[in-house]
């Protein structure tokens, strides 16, 4: 039973344009959401997070939006750079459980 879903396995974007990665979840108890970035042969690296009390969090080129009513979050990368090419995992956590629930990832390719 997958509680966090990333329905787009891949995304290609031109350098300089916006990349939008989407994530849906089913568990309304989730109160903290994270995005991880993963390069081949490496472990996931934390990128940005958002608490359920917010609907937006921004860090440089990266912005995460949370729509609780739709149980949906998205990661915006502007402008996209070739070095952003990686697999992006959405993850969620709820109070009382200290493990993360991951989506299956979206492979982003930024074309120079």
């Amino acid at each position: 039973d997958q509680q966090v879903k990333q329905n787009s396995p891949s995304l290609s974007v031109q350098e300089g344009r916006i990349s939008i990665l989407n994530c849906d979840y089913t568990n309304s108890m989730f109160d903290y959401f994270l995005w991880y970035k993963k390069y081949p042969a490496e472990g996931p690296t934390f990128l940005i997070s958002i608490s359920s009390i917010k609907d937006k969090n921004e860090d440089g080129r990266f912005t995460v939006f949370l729509n609780k009513s739709a149980k949906h979050l998205s990661l915006h990368i502007v402008p996209s750079q070739p070095g952003d090419s990686a697999v992006y995992f959405c993850a969620a956590r709820h109070t009382g459980a200290n493990n993360l629930f991951f989506g299956t990832g979206t492979r982003l390719t930024v074309i120079p």
Binding site: P44, R93, A97, N98, N99, F102, T104
Partner: protein, 113 residues
Amino acid sequence: DTAVSQTPKYLVTQMGNDKSIKCEQNLGHDTMYWYKQDSKKFLKIMFSYNNKELIINETVPNRFSPKSPDKAHLNLHINSLELGDSAVYFCASSQGVGGETQYFGPGTRLLVL
């Protein structure tokens, strides 16, 4: 000065063997985890330890036994390896139970033949 390290990085072995994967973190965290990434790229929690105490034990065959000799180490021992155990295993750590940000090791790619 790797934050979370795992050894070995690659492990190829025969069915029925017993193997161990080691994990060490030098971040001073008190919580460590093992995740399994299967062929569908799905990352799923297996175990979590806080201050050497087991706090999460998901539905994992008892052939998998984690051992935490101290807060900085969480090793994974697997008995009687099966073909379906082939996967990438990631170790992670965080500060505190419920620590929002988990830091991952590079993964151990296990192939059971």
